[in-house]
């Protein structure tokens, strides 16, 4: 197994002292270059967990280690945030500058990158998310998906090792959602950037290497998407809906169709039906 880039060790967190725990005894490891998803309903604590990893919140109990650095130590804060960047939910509320190019520069300015190095980094980051042609536009003229890709570029320019996406597609239309997810998958495959994808959309979790299901502040299931979604009944108590194809397969199986286990995508379903028809 590759070395873990993010290690969460028995972490609990409460917003107020003696208040209810938003995250309860969570342990989790994300290896370098992998694509993990955290699935959960609203209020399951998944966003809180994301902010714990980035050092925006500090754990009440347990430790969070990013690239070998403890988030509790003050001197690590900025290095952790540079190495494990974060993209948030609302695309409007995370862009700072009035021009796309300058927004991407914002992070670079903060970590003191020399001015001469900036243009090349900005251009590369914008190219990677397919937004270079919009570099001189004002953010409010872009669509939600485009804004979100600019936000990704802003993190990418800082050359992080991992990016945490805190429900970054929740406010987008289906096309924007697809574009963002595709851009992220490409970054993961081509540049080996570790991804922690937090979402409540099951169909997005299908593309991940590992899925962690959160419910009421705890991780209740771990596994590959195939393991998690093959049993439609088991995830129901967590108020999660399996991807449409997994549900369809389960229903067809109940009707007596001998479909194989672990069907998640339309392509797989088509293959399987074709096989049965022969």
């Amino acid at each position: 197994m590759a070395e873990p880039i993010i290690a969460v060790d028995h972490v609990s967190f409460a917003y107020e002292e003696d208040g209810p725990l938003a995250v309860r005894d969570v342990s989790l490891q994300v290896e370098k270059g992998s694509f993990h998803a955290i699935l959960g309903q609203n209020g399951s604590g998944k966003s809180t967990l994301a902010k714990l990893i980035n050092g925006l919140y500090l754990p009440t109990e347990g430790t969070v280690t990013v690239c070998g650095m403890d988030t509790k130590a003050d001197e690590n804060t900025w290095e952790i945030r540079r190495r494990a960047g974060m993209v948030f939910q609302n695309p409007d509320n995370q862009l700072v500058a009035t021009v796309v190019r300058e927004d991407v520069a914002f992070g670079l300015e903060n970590i003191g990158i020399p001015t001469e190095e900036m243009p090349a980094r900005i251009e590369k980051a914008l190219t990677d998310v397919g937004m270079l042609k919009h570099a001189d536009k004002a953010p409010h003229l872009l669509s939600g998906g485009q804004k979100q890709r600019v936000a990704i570029a802003g993190v990418l320019a800082m050359e992080p090792e991992a990016i945490i996406f805190d429900e970054s597609t929740a406010m987008l239309d289906p096309k924007g959602r697809r574009d963002v997810l595709k851009a992220v998958q490409r970054l993961n495959k081509e540049q080996g950037i570790t991804v922690l994808w937090i979402t409540h959309f099951m169909e997005e979790a299908v593309v991940c290497d590992q899925v962690h299901v959160m419910h009421r502040g705890q991780i209740v299931m771990n596994g590959t998407p195939r393991e998690i979604f093959s049993d439609v009944e088991r995830i129901k108590p967590y108020r999660l809906d399996a991807p449409p194809m997994a549900r369809l397969a389960a229903q067809l199986r109940a009707q007596g169709m001998p479909l194989k286990e672990g069907i998640l995508t339309v392509d797989e379903m088509a293959e399987e039906v074709k096989r049965l028809c022969k």
């Binding site: 945030r81 948030f88 409007d92 700072v96 500058a97 003191g112 900036m118 993190v155």
Partner: protein
């Protein structure tokens, strides 16, 4: 309410020498010109200033119509200044007897003097805002004020707040438009009634707008921290302002203008 197609400030985009000048230089030169306007002690001294205004306006490619528009909100003050000075200033040489008052020559001169001074002040200031995008202006101000950091003047924070405000104006306008439509759909009436009724109608618009603005502020602060923002210390900049030949020439020309104004004032 026309909330679409809003332009920020009154920037007039064009490719001109005046547009390309360093914002810091432009701000300093505006102050110098204002000083020159106040130094002008007689009408003759206004001639070089007016000539300078005409030349700079031509160079900037800003249409005269846009410049004149800047005077519009001030027309009442202008008329008042002129009329009050005309009737109430003392003088020796009667010029015109209107029956109820006598207009003196000295009063007329002073009235013209004060009005011209006001007009020039406004025109030069709008020339600055017409040729400089707000964000560049903010940048220039930050750089100019940064020496004041020694006395703990928050120059960087001020500039950051201004640029965030500029970034969020269109976003909040869009949101106001959305809330307005939502309230109208539920029977709210923003258009009719007297002033008080209309002001009252704004409450259901402003409350949600404020609530959301605060939520946005919280989110933005979190996002900025996540991107390693920790104040102005140790920050580098994407855009570095550098004075060029044209900036020095502009300074020299303005210095010459001040000399001309002073000489013209002494010529009488």
């Amino acid at each position: 309410m026309a909330l679409n197609n809003i332009t920020l400030g009154q920037y007039y985009p064009a490719d001109s020498v005046v547009h390309r000048l360093d914002p810091r230089i432009k701000i300093v030169l505006l102050i110098a010109v204002i000083v020159a306007i106040f130094l002008a002690s007689n009408l003759l001294a206004f001639v070089p200033i007016a000539a300078f205004l005409v030349i700079v306006t031509r160079l900037s490619k800003v249409p005269v119509k846009m410049m004149v528009k800047g005077l519009k909100p001030l027309r009442l003050i202008l008329i008042l200044t002129f009329v009050l000075n005309l009737f109430f200033l003392q003088g020796e040489t009667p010029l015109l007897n209107l029956g109820f008052a006598v207009i003196k020559k000295e009063a007329l001169t002073m009235a013209v003097h004060y009005s011209l001074r006001l007009i020039l002040l406004v025109l030069f200031s709008s020339l600055l805002t017409l040729t400089t995008p707000p964000i560049t202006l903010t940048d220039g101000l930050e750089r100019l004020l940064s020496p004041l950091r020694v006395i703990h003047f928050p120059a960087h924070e001020m500039a950051m707040m201004m640029s965030i405000a500029l970034r969020f104006i269109p976003t909040l306008l869009e949101e106001a438009d959305k809330i307005m439509k939502a309230q109208t759909a539920r029977g709210a009436d923003f258009e009719t009634g007297n002033l008080i009724a209309r002001a009252k109608a704004m409450v259901p618009l402003l409350v949600p707008l404020f609530v959301s603005a605060f939520r946005r502020a919280g989110d933005l602060a979190m996002a900025m921290e996540a991107r390693c923002y920790h104040g102005g210390e140790g920050r580098t900049r994407l855009r570095v302002l550098k004075c060029q030949k044209r900036d020095y020439i502009a300074c020299a020309v303005t210095a010459l203008l001040i000399v001309c104004v002073v000489l013209c004032g002494k010529a009488y």
